[in-house]
């Protein structure tokens, strides 16, 4: 995508580096386009239009929202492992509250997620604890909380109101998909054009320098965890409304798929460099692999076990990571900080 962003405060990368970064970012996009064209040619209309398009984007939206929050967290040099549990919590809370109406349910789900984000943010910024373990602890604790709230059963939504949210569609795409695209556009704009966005990259690039520059490091770092929690809560709401229920394993392992999508999108885990729209490409790409396997099996010529899905995703991640390593090496070879 065109949103190549580098840290302010660093010298502008040289042309070769810029070309490398661009190639790598475009690489994910190129792969996505190739796969879409391949799918459209091979499986025809069934793949490219109508039901598949709407169910694919609706399904992907949940992962997309989680990955968007993760992108911002990773750009500050942090990590949020709790998102999978927050998805479950958001879904359960939304379903419980949705008895009082759709909008309260939606808002309560997002608020529950944001509350976990506040907790993470406080522990990380005020108590200065390492994000990896803090969010690992909240991963455990929040799943316990979600399961307790649900009575260790799947939380089931009452038919009607709440489930409509998952079924509504606009111009052939479900509401969840529009929410994802909108969130990514707003996120990309915020990263580029607001002081908050620039501060995120500055903190991830060099937190000490950001502090010395007088940037509100604590406030900004805090805010990305709240955002990540809120987006994961929102993903939980969509999950609950699409399925009509949230089961006890909901969201398990989503934190790692989200991180994978962020990495495939080209955001470096060291922070300071990243692109919001590339994460969208990463999410779509990883989900598309699964979709293509379903279609290939539908043709009945060969039968690919769904277990290949994770193997192919892993292989994809491997290729991207190795490309990134070459890129980083080239950057350090040209005297830039890796």
């Amino acid at each position: 995508m065109t949103t190549t962003v580098t840290t302010p405060g660093r010298t502008t990368p040289g042309r070769r580096v810029r070309a490398g970064l661009l190639l790598q970012r475009q690489g994910a996009l190129i792969a996505l386009v190739i796969l879409v064209v391949f799918g459209a040619l091979r499986y025809g209309e069934k793949f490219a239009t109508g039901f598949n398009l709407s169910s694919f984007t609706g399904d992907t939206a949940k992962y997309g929202l989680v990955a968007l929050g993760m992108t911002f967290v990773i750009m500050t040099g942090g990590i949020d492992l709790s998102v999978g549990s927050v998805v479950a919590l958001g879904g359960v809370v939304a379903i419980k509250v949705s008895d009082h109406g759709l909008l309260p349910g939606l808002l309560a789900g997002i608020a529950a997620g944001a509350a976990v984000g506040v907790l993470n943010g406080l522990l990380i910024t005020k108590l200065k604890l390492p994000p990896f373990i803090v969010t690992l602890a909240t991963l455990l604790a929040i799943r316990g909380l979600a399961l307790t709230l649900a009575g260790t059963r799947a939380a089931v939504a009452a038919p009607g109101g709440f489930q409509k949210l998952g079924n509504w569609s606009l111009l052939g795409l479900p509401v969840a998909a529009w929410a994802m695209f909108l969130a990514f556009l707003v996120g990309a704009a915020a990263l580029h054009y607001t002081p908050w966005g620039r501060q995120i990259l500055a903190i991830g690039g060099n937190v000490d320098a950001a502090k010395l520059m007088g940037l509100p490091v604590v406030r900004t770092t805090f805010s990305v965890y709240v955002l990540s929690g809120a987006l994961a809560g929102c993903a939980g709401v969509f999950l609950g409304s699409q399925n009509g229920s949230v089961d006890t394993a909901a969201g398990q392992g989503w934190e790692l798929t989200a991180i994978a999508a962020v990495v495939v999108g080209g955001t470096l885990l060291t922070g300071g460099v990243g692109s919001v729209l590339s994460t969208l490409v990463g999410v779509l790409l990883l989900q598309l692999i699964f979709n293509l396997i379903v279609f290939e099996n539908g043709k009945g010529v060969i039968n690919i076990s769904s277990f290949w899905e994770s193997v192919i995703r892993g292989a994809f991640l491997l290729v991207v990571v190795l490309l990134q390593v070459r890129l980083v090496k080239r950057r350090s070879a040209t005297g830039r900080p890796a």
Partner: protein, 336 residues
């Protein structure tokens, strides 16, 4: 919980043990004590409480066959994890490696191969998994979280592909010795865990490799300049973690008398990391406490069992566990 990082030799300069200027000697002493022995103290308190308040707690049946038998797999994986974390790395793939090793071992036994071959093959495959992680981290310089995330994702799929995701039931007493036998009345996996911990402690304390791990984790550049083969040390750390995870995979399928690629080892990486973290090992590397990892694993298991034994649901116990991990971190913060 031997504070091994405090030893002399290579580790000392590399770990950068510059303690902050003490505000008061007593305060520093207290926090150092809390960091080193916090998990052990919690374990002792829990133990005493249970001895008084939980009926039948002080029976071999309860201690050996419930508590230690449940804690042993986590402790073994946590020992490998502690070594990897000592090199400033992390291994997220342990759960998937468990599943692969379990599947390989069970499949070979079910195809009438000798049980020793099955065990050796399973451990070799886990070593290859560790080699894969280690190569990405040490040779290609990939960040450990990402490098091991690859096998975390792909590994479970690989394990499922071996048998098409079907459950395999086992009935081979030789192969299942490690999960079912009870020599001298002690569950085999507890003995294995003790042996692993003792060997790992000896290696970390008295061998060059042990010192190198601390040096690499403390300051990789400095250690490399000092002539430490940093890449090889890291490679070996990931191979160790892989083999130990494979061993636990064998324990899991043996104890269940079934190999289930979908469920073996799910969430193990988190349990192991939590065990290492509560024992006061910083994730930034440069410090390994093998006994800490074991104590952490037993302590978290006992905490869970205590709460459950007193009528608190597993889910609430999970919330308490999260709070305990954070509290442990907060205690450690003073020294960091």
């Amino acid at each position: 919980m031997t504070p091994e990082a405090v030893g002399p030799l290579v580790a000392e300069p590399a770990t950068g043990t510059a303690t902050p200027v003490p505000r008061g000697a007593r305060r520093v002493q207290w926090t150092v004590w809390a960091q080193r022995y916090g998990a052990l103290a919690t374990l002792v308190v829990l133990f005493v409480y249970n001895a008084i308040a939980t009926p039948f707690f002080l029976t071999p049946q309860s201690l050996l066959f419930v508590l230690l038998r449940q804690a042993a797999p986590i402790a073994i994986v946590a020992v490998g994890m502690a070594i990897v974390i000592g090199t400033a790395g992390i291994d997220l793939s342990v759960g998937s490696v468990m599943a692969i090793a379990g599947q390989v071992g069970a499949t070979l036994v079910l195809h009438d191969q000798p049980f020793l071959l099955a065990i050796v093959a399973a451990l070799l495959v886990s070593a290859v998994c560790g080699l894969f992680n280690g190569t990405l981290v040490a040779r290609f310089g990939v960040q450990p979280i990402i490098a091991t995330l690859i096998l975390f994702i792909a590994g479970r799929g690989i394990a499922q592909l071996i048998t098409g995701g079907k459950l395999q039931t086992l009935a081979d007493p030789d192969f299942q010795w490690i999960g079912l036998a009870r020599p001298f009345g002690v569950p085999a996996q507890v003995i294995v865990a003790v042996v692993v911990a003792v060997v790992a402690w000896l290696i970390m304390r008295f061998t060059v490799f042990g010192r190198y791990v601390l040096a690499v984790g403390g300051n990789e550049t400095a250690s490399r300049l000092a002539g430490v083969p940093a890449a090889r040390v890291k490679l070996l750390a990931y191979v160790t973690s892989g083999v130990l995870a494979g061993l636990v995979g064998l324990i899991a399928v043996s104890a269940n008398s079934a190999s289930d690629a979908n469920n073996v080892g799910v969430g193990m990486e988190l349990d192991a990391i939590a065990a290492v973290a509560v024992a006061g090992t910083p994730l930034t590397g440069g410090k390994v406490t093998v006994w800490g990892a074991v104590v952490g694993a037993v302590m978290l298991k006992l905490l869970q069992n205590t709460l459950i034994a007193h009528g608190i649901t597993k889910e609430v116990a999970q919330m308490v566990e999260g709070a305990v991990i954070i509290a442990a971190l907060w205690l450690q913060r003073h020294e960091a």
